[in-house]
């Protein structure tokens, strides 16, 4: 489903974020990108979402080279990806329901259809009692679960989560991870960047990175 072929990324002035990284991820895998801050985990996620382009090498998503995506094709490509960012990126002037409905409305769904599916996604994240609340009225864990609800509402084939537990306490972090594992079990490919060692054991695979270079990978026997 996803293939990195000798991918390097340099930012001016001469900062190397990734160097000669190659791996492939199959459909339904739960993969962790592990490593310290600045290792290149976020850069890999941004490349899969076509937010960044490689300086050299190839990034293929479903056989499509992201370097070949033009401005017109990019939005449609992103609609198949559920993106969960470290800062949750919820719109603060909209309620949780409105935030979760947003990807559906962007995709052209009717308001009634968006309402039904958003409610279902929010319920799945146990946030039904917060549906009309604004993001700042929610705890960090609730905000992140709302972000997951928004990421899954479009039923994406791929979920990219960038440090989803970074600012959460243990309990909330566990809930978020359990949700992501459940999606993976349902056949959704999940790629999660994290430096939280506790959760790595739940992965089907861990790709280690350090200063933009690929280290050894660990693969679950299952």
């Amino acid at each position: 489903m996803i293939e990195f072929k000798q991918v390097s990324k340099h930012f001016p002035p001469g900062v190397s974020a990734l160097s000669d990284v190659s791996f492939s991820i199959e459909r339904g895998e739960l993969v962790f990108l592990a490593g310290p801050s600045g290792a290149g985990k976020s850069t890999i996620l941004k490349m899969i979402a076509a937010i960044e382009r490689p300086t050299s090498g190839q990034v293929l998503v479903n056989g499509q080279d992201i370097a070949g995506l033009n401005t017109a094709a990019l939005p449609y490509f992103r609609r198949n990806i559920g993106l969960i960012l470290q800062d949750h990126a919820l719109l603060l002037d909209r309620t949780i329901l409105e935030n979760v409905m947003l990807p559906l409305l962007i995709g052209g769904a009717t308001k009634a259809e968006a309402l039904i599916r958003a409610n279902a996604a929010i319920e799945k994240m146990n946030l039904s009692d917060k549906i009309d609340a604004f993001p700042l009225a929610l705890s960090g864990g609730e905000q992140q679960r709302a972000a997951i609800a928004r990421a899954i509402v479009n039923r994406p084939q791929l979920i990219l989560a960038d440090e989803p537990t970074a600012y959460l306490d243990r309990d909330n972090a566990k809930k978020v991870m359990q949700a992501l594992q459940a999606f993976s079990a349902a056949g959704v490919t999940c790629i999660i960047s994290s430096h939280d060692e506790e959760f790595l054991v739940s992965a089907s695979r861990v790709i280690y990175l350090n200063q933009g270079k690929q280290g050894d990978s660990w693969q679950s026997a299952a």
Partner: protein, 312 residues
């Protein structure tokens, strides 16, 4: 198609929400644009009110013959027969009135307010004159010139050795027509300049809106929003700003006409007229509103294209 309509409806709703979220900014921008629009609208209102008056202006054309100052009174009076013959030959019947230099001076002293100045001259500087009032009335539109016959007669009269100068007294109508043309030309120039001002104001207002929604644009772009989806609410907001400002400008001009009409009525009543300035008619007003909305849309279009490309 349904999706397209739905997204346009959603964009217009989003534009309304943007406006409601910052009503102060919107009202301020409406006022600035309305003031800019009200100037050409005022000019247009004035021209549209004056045009029917000038178009229907009908006068009995007159020729004034100023005789040479060294001509004796007897020779001056005797010239009447020559003039009558020439009128008959030209086929332009007219009433001929002799105006002695003394009468002309008295009239000038009484009507010009220069009585004291004229008294210091010692002798009468004015010549004897004839005034020819033609029986034929004709319309003097802004395009029409004096009849050729009268102009030809004036040229013949000018050749008489006793005549110093011939003046066609309908020339002021031509000047009025030229003035109207000039006013229209200046109005077009003013409209173009102020349209640029309007586009610039809306460009800047939209730029500030886009900048204040940078974070939101970043997020919805990551969620798969197309550029069109992102731009549409700003287009609607720009068009709405333009149309609201146009409506406000029309209301401002109509409000200004009220006190102005009182002053005009007082002045016109001295000439037995009840002339008053009327606001622009409905068709014109609708055209102006559409034009204002298009200007708003254009300003927003330029701004959003520029800003969004910078954000990406």
């Amino acid at each position: 198609m349904k999706i397209w309509i739905r997204q346009h409806a959603s964009a217009s709703l989003s534009a309304m929400k943007q406006i409601i979220s910052a009503p102060g900014n919107f009202l301020f921008n409406v006022l600035v644009v309305a003031v800019a629009l009200s100037l050409p609208i005022t000019g247009l209102t004035l021209i549209e009110n004056i045009r029917p008056v000038s178009d229907q202006l009908s006068i009995a054309p007159e020729l004034s013959l100023f005789l040479k100052t060294d001509l004796t009174r007897t020779d001056a009076i005797a010239l009447a027969d020559t003039i009558k013959k020439m009128l008959k030959t030209a086929g332009t019947p007219a009433k001929l009135v002799f105006v002695p230099r003394e009468t002309a001076l008295t009239g000038l002293q009484n009507n010009s307010g220069l009585g004291d100045v004229l008294a210091t001259l010692g002798q009468n500087p004015l010549p004897d004159a004839y005034v020819l009032s033609f029986e034929q009335h004709f319309e003097l539109t802004t395009q029409q010139s004096s009849p050729v016959k009268i102009e030809a007669l004036a040229a013949q009269l000018q050749k008489l050795p006793e005549v110093d100068h011939v003046q066609i007294d309908s020339n002021w109508i031509k000047r009025l027509a030229a003035l109207m043309h000039l006013a229209q030309f200046m109005l077009v120039g003013l409209a173009i300049i102020l349209s640029i001002v309007v586009v610039t104001v809306i460009f800047n207002a939209t730029r500030l809106q886009v900048l204040s929604h940078r974070a939101e644009i970043r997020v919805i772009r990551l969620l798969g929003a197309t550029n069109q989806y992102i731009r549409r609410p700003y287009y609607y907001a720009g068009a709405l700003l333009g149309a609201t400002a146009g409506l406000t400008a029309l209301a401002l001009v109509a409000a200004v006409l009220q006190p102005l009409n009182q002053a005009i009525l007082e002045f016109a009543s001295l000439y037995g007229s009840n002339f008053q300035l009327a606001p622009l008619n409905l068709t014109f007003s609708v055209y102006l509103l559409i034009s204002a909305a298009i200007l708003g849309l254009f300003g927003a279009f330029l701004s959003v294209r520029h800003q969004i490309s910078q954000l990406s």
